[in-house]
């Protein structure tokens, strides 16, 4: 029996040999650069010393988790992460859906094309360059925004030097960068709404708003639900690149997130074990959320990744 099974296995290997050979190279690459570092998570349970390496460092069990919760700033960064990320998730649904609905009301013409071209652009510019631009525009001395506000008699504001303003700035600059690109998916959904439904609604005497309410929105609701579900996985993803490039000592209290803390502790401070523990804490929760969100998405709309 066992012999037979083994033979079957070798037969499929032989039959699909070329396919196995093809996929072997990416499989090995992924093993080396992903699965080995996955095993490196072990340092979260060690008192890792670079000189001793992965194998010689002392095991400490869950000690690092205890230390982590007493690390000044960890709970603050956890709170900030959730607040910043949730704000982004809400805006990241509401704004693109609204804009997509507005764009959908336009006739296909040059103006619409130009508008679409312009709003997609910031998505493709890196946070480094955008941060450079944002810092310049928000500067209190002669920044563009303060000059503009000055017209209305507003005193110059040091936007990036004010802890209370930091989260709103993160939300606004994030949605500014991404809303255009996010409309694409909703525009595609809108294009897929059956036109016969609009004609039927018009025959029934529906006005424009009624058509939007009774035909358009239900038509794109599955897409909205799907996007909301998939975003569930990013509740702990506050946007490292953005925060890292915009925060400073003054805005740390409201702006420090888990990822920036991990960076400062680990790469900056050499406390590899504690940093890896914080990273593990985040990625365990995130992985669970992502798996749940995929399951929900599959249930709601038959969404499948592969």
């Amino acid at each position: 029996m066992k012999e037979k099974k083994k033979k079957g296995f070798w037969r499929t290997i032989k039959k699909d040999g070329a396919l196995h050979l093809m996929i072997a190279i990416p499989v090995i690459m992924l093993f080396v650069f992903h699965y080995i570092s996955l095993a490196g998570i072990i340092i979260a349970f060690q008192d890792y010393k670079p000189a001793k390496g992965f194998f010689q460092s002392e095991f400490v069990g869950l000690e690092n988790f205890r230390t982590l919760f007493y690390t000044p700033g960890f709970l603050v960064s956890l709170r900030n992460t959730v607040i910043i990320a949730c704000g982004k998730i809400v805006l990241g649904i509401v704004v693109p859906v609204t804009i997509a609905l507005l764009l959908n009301e336009m006739k296909k013409n040059g103006i619409k094309r130009v508008i679409q071209t312009l709003i997609y652009l910031p998505h493709f510019v890196s946070w480094v360059l955008l941060a450079g631009i944002i810092i310049e525009i928000l500067n209190p001395r002669d920044g563009l925004l303060n000059q503009f506000l000055g017209i209305f008699g507003v005193e110059p504001i040091y936007f990036l030097g004010d802890a209370d303003l930091f989260r709103p700035i993160l939300w606004i600059t994030d949605i500014w960068k991404e809303f255009g690109y996010s409309t694409i998916i909703y525009l595609a959904a809108l294009a897929g709404v059956d036109t016969a439904l609009y004609e039927a609604a018009a025959l029934d005497g529906a006005g424009h708003m009624q058509k939007v309410w009774h035909v358009t929105l239900p038509g794109i609701a599955p897409t909205i639900v799907l996007m909301m579900t998939l975003k569930l996985g990013s509740v702990l993803d506050a946007g490292f690149e953005q925060v890292y490039n915009l925060y400073s000592a003054v805005t740390m209290e409201t702006g420090d997130i888990i990822d920036t803390l991990v960076y400062r502790l680990g790469i900056g401070g050499g406390q590899f074990s504690i940093a890896a523990t914080a990273g593990l804490f985040k990625s365990v929760i995130a992985s669970v959320l992502i798996v749940v969100s995929y399951k929900l998405a599959y249930k709601f709309s038959g969404y499948r990744v592969f």
Partner: protein, 293 residues
């Protein structure tokens, strides 16, 4: 009744065009502002006179930039990195995408590999273990640390395998009937048919690697090995604490402004150049990846 609604509709249409146009302007005004600063005279820049149009038009900032070896060296690193990344990432994506596009009946082990790639997409080691592994492999300070770790992208593989699946089966079957194996079929039949999705992937990889800065910052020990965006991160991003403490503004280092703006704009230029192509392909790409049933 009918007239009233059509008036309201007219007002809405006008409002809609105005509102969306303002939004679109808001997206590029910051970029135009930076371009205007980079093309303006230093004195006008420091006086805060430059808004959206260059004042006393000059190429001085760009001429000054020509003397900065560091900037161009970093640009060279970035170009090399993008070149290597496109070749390696595309090879990996094709080699994994084609086998995974087969059905389980055609490729018995498919499900195993699907999980192997899926798990990698769902959980990762995180910043610190990855860094330590790269360090232990002796890859710090080499260009390979920027190219190899992200070379296998499950997302790209999904995109490609979905596209291959959508091709008519008969074409591949006829190739097999003619005696072609998987390698020949992939090379002669599948890849030529996949040109649109391959172009999309190449563009995605180019943009991603051109824009990536964080790995460059942590994996490279010496600034002369930084790719462009990592180099600019150290130059352009500084939040000036002196602003809060009311230091005399004349003491601030302001002459750099035009120079910084020029560097930002030059780093953005390649993106702007491929942008028309990006726009042509990415709409299809996103929809393919995201709303497949």
């Amino acid at each position: 009744m009918f007239r009233k609604e059509s008036l309201g509709r007219k007002i809405f249409v006008i409002f809609n065009y105005v509102f969306c146009s303002i939004l679109a302007l808001a997206c590029i005004i910051p970029l135009i502002h930076i371009l205007a600063i980079s093309l303006s005279d230093k004195v006008a820049v420091n006086a805060g006179e430059v808004l959206l149009w260059p004042v006393n038009f000059t190429f001085a900032s760009y001429e000054h930039l020509l003397t900065e070896v560091k900037f161009f060296r970093a640009m060279g690193v970035s170009v090399l990195r993008v070149f290597l990344a496109v070749i390696i990432c595309m090879t990996m994506t094709i080699l994994a995408g084609y086998p995974l596009s087969k059905t389980t009946r055609q490729f018995a082990a498919r499900q195993f590999y699907v999980w192997y790639f899926m798990i990698a997409m769902l959980i990762g080691g995180g910043m610190i273990p990855t860094y330590l592994v790269i360090a232990q492999m002796g890859m710090l300070d080499t260009i390979w640390s920027l190219v190899l770790p992200g070379a296998v992208s499950t997302y790209n593989i999904i995109l490609l395998q979905n596209y291959i699946k959508s091709l008519p089966d008969e074409i591949m079957e006829s190739a097999f009937v003619d005696g072609a194996g998987h390698w020949i079929t992939l090379y002669k039949i599948v890849l030529p048919l996949c040109k649109p999705v391959l172009a999309t992937l190449v563009l995605f990889i180019m943009v991603a690697h051109w824009n990536e800065w964080f790995n460059g910052l942590i994996y490279m020990n010496r600034p002369e090995h930084y790719p462009l965006q990592s180099y600019l991160q150290t130059i352009v991003v500084e939040i000036d604490m002196s602003m809060i403490q009311n230091v005399d503004p004349t003491l601030l280092n302001l002459t750099q402004k035009g120079n910084k703006a020029a560097q930002i704009f030059l780093a953005m230029l390649p993106i702007l150049c491929v942008y028309p192509f990006l726009q042509k392909y990415f709409t299809g790409g996103i929809v393919m990846g995201s709303v497949k049933g």
